[in-house]
Amino acid sequence: MTSALIIILGEVVEAMLIISLLMAATGSIGMNRGWIVVAILIGLAGAGLYADYFDAISDAFDGVGQELTNATTLFGVCLCLMFFSFFLIGQLRPAAPLFPLWVGIIALFGSIGLAITREVVEIYIYISGYLLSPEPVQPILIGGALGTGIALSMGALIYYAVSNLKRRQSLIVSCIVLVPISAGLVLQGVTYLMQADKLPAQSPLWDTSSLIPEDSVIGELLFSLFSYEATPTPLHVAFYVSTVGVMLLGMLLVSRLAASGQNNSVKYA
């Protein structure tokens, strides 16, 4: 049961977190939520494609194709989330959005699509493998139900927490929550690159695994939410900090731009 719980929980929470945040944010800027459904469908289609070519991808690049694909996907999700947060900040003044709608739609497709692709492939491989084995199914079903239940509940609570805020607050809160999520995705991507020997392995800077073990439920939740890493190396920290920095600076810049755009339009009005 635990394995099913941990796997389903980990994958679904990560996807739910992104989806519920983006859903609340798109709701508060009055964007059509149908786009999210489209993005999820894109993700499912992507997952089907990835699963189909999984073996070929795994064997590519000297057997580290899987790591490179995962890292690319993770960096892609992070980039799309970054642009989506800029898009949201650009919407702070409803009268003068800084970016056209298609920027938001593409960022939405990219982030949700790629995230779903990654999570669904993992679940698909696990479940399809399990169907081949003679083990009893009940523990897996229960574990899966527990994991899905916890993940969906968290998604619902996050969604309502953000969408019950006023428009401005909900935009700012979702952007701020997107920062550690995106940086965490980069962190996971860096680990994959190390595993594939594309980045040098280093000894960890610190070890908090005795405090919060990564295989505990809390550790797993923290991992899904913010890519909790008990033993980060200097490279991990560097990538994390720079992603956070780039996102915060970008948001600041965009909010300045949005404000000055507003002033200009007032002047010429």
Partner: protein
């Protein structure tokens, strides 16, 4: 639009799920740890049992010397029990002296006291190495890891399963309960929605809940204030007009007498007469306007032939047209409608007098009644200056008088005619359009009445 019911149901269920599931995961883990300890104790007990019963130096072949172990009667019936327990006894030289349930020819685990996980015979085993100090030998007991796990899990899952299954049930019940709790809100909303525009009576709910009482109270207060001010307005205009009638009649008589007495009345006296007539007309129109207001008119609907009614009104007001040398044509056929006789003839009078007023001398006016499958259409067209399209909307307002140039200076118009017509049209749920007649100039007023029995 966000639904309170959905919000409450989802968040409540989310919280129930989170709390229950997380605590059952915790419970599961603790129970599994307990089971682990229990199984380890079993391994130890078996080792102690062997150490106490198995004679030293028994050869490896005598497996049958040991009666079948029954660790737990429940497990006897579990498939795979045969391979649950493995026992080996090894002497200090490392020779196997006893072996139960395994074909392994060497010690299955390290000869160092303690519990360990090892792979052999194609499975993963949890092993205990026990030092039998009295007999100077090692007793090794092992249980299959997957069986231990599955057995423990079977038991523990029985306590988790109901929690998982109960969530959908809880969700359904919460949905129903919140629906029941929100009933009064929905009923209040329905009551307000179903109110007729003229119905300003207070809303009442049976057993108003505490939270809705202030809303209901303030809504009812608002309604009663609205009603009072409506009535005040209505009464004031009606009373004022009514009160003005008497002095105006007196004035009319006086000016009549005055003009009779005067041999040669000065022009200003003539002007005075026109002014008084005009005031009289205005007061009559205000009274009509109030009387026909759809908010308060107590209509008495009956089956009417619109064409017949037109004939009556036309013959009554023929003089007006004769004075200006205008031609008046009445065309059409029988058109049955449901309407209030007084209101409809007031409407016709107003339409005709408007047409006559705004059409120059020698002009022509056409009244037509047509009956179509679902409607009876009345059109009154003149060949006067008409009303520009942009102003037609405003023309129906009270005291609107289209571009002052259109109004012949001596006309006793007061700008209420079309407003009265509009009232009566609304009262009959008919539709009113102002347009241009086919001839190209003038005004064409079109009123469409639904035929009786054609929907509400």
């Amino acid at each position: 639009m966000r639904s309170i019911r959905l919000f409450l149901t989802l968040t409540i269920i989310a919280i129930i799920t989170l709390v229950n599931f997380l605590s059952s995961v915790r419970g599961y883990r603790q129970s599994m740890d307990e089971a682990e300890t229990l199984f380890n104790e079993q391994l130890l007990e078996n080792a102690l049992l062997i150490s106490a019963t198995l004679p030293v130096g028994a050869p490896a072949g005598e497996k049958a010397a040991l009666p079948p172990l029954s660790v737990n009667p429940r497990l006897d019936n579990t498939p795979g029990f045969q391979s649950l327990l493995v026992i080996q006894v090894v002497d200090d030289q490392g020779n196997l002296t006893f072996s139960f349930n395994t074909e392994a020819q060497a010690a299955i685990t390290v000869l160092e006291p303690g519990y360990r996980d090892v792979n052999f015979d194609g499975y993963r085993w949890h092993t205990l190495t026990y030092r039998d100090t009295a007999n100077e030998r090692w007793i090794l007991t092992a249980q299959r890891y997957d069986i231990r796990y599955t057995l423990a899990e079977q038991v523990v899952l029985q306590s988790v399963l109901p929690i998982v299954l109960s969530i959908p049930v809880a969700g359904f019940i919460v949905w129903l309960l919140i629906g029941a709790g929100l009933k009064p809100v929905i009923r209040l909303a329905e009551e307000l929605q179903n109110k007729e525009a003229t119905d300003l009576s207070p809303v009442s709910l049976e057993a108003t809940p505490k939270e809705l009482a202030p809303l209901q109270k303030s809504t009812n207060e608002l309604l009663s204030r609205l009603k009072a001010s409506f009535e005040r307005e209505k009464r004031f205009a009606a009373d004022a007009a009514h009160e003005l009638r008497t002095p105006i009649s007196v004035l009319k008589v006086q000016i009549h007498n005055l003009l009779e007495e005067w041999q040669n009345p000065p022009p200003s006296a003539q002007q005075l007469k026109i002014g008084i007539d005009r005031m009289g007309h205005l007061v009559e129109q205000i009274l009509d306007l109030n009387r026909t207001s759809p908010d308060l008119y107590m209509a008495q609907f009956e089956q009417l032939d619109l064409f017949e009614l037109c004939q009556e009104v036309v013959s009554d007001s023929y003089e007006q047209f004769m004075d200006k040398n205008q031609t008046l044509e009445l065309l059409g056929e029988k058109g049955l409608i449901r309407g209030d006789r007084f209101a409809i003839s007031t409407m016709l009078k107003n339409l005709l007098s408007n047409a006559s007023k705004y059409t120059p001398e020698d002009g022509s006016i056409v009244v037509r009644v047509r009956s179509q499958d679902k409607e009876v259409i009345l059109t009154v067209s003149d060949n006067g200056p008409g009303i520009p399209a942009a102003e037609r909307e405003r023309a129906l307002e009270r005291f609107y008088r289209s571009g002052q140039d259109r109004n012949p200076p001596n006309q006793p118009g007061c700008g209420l005619g079309l407003a009265i017509v509009k009232h009566i049209v609304d009262l009959h749920r008919a539709s009113l359009t102002l347009g241009t007649p086919e001839s190209g100039t003038g005004l064409c007023v079109k009123v469409r009445f639904r035929k009786p029995g054609q929907g509400s």
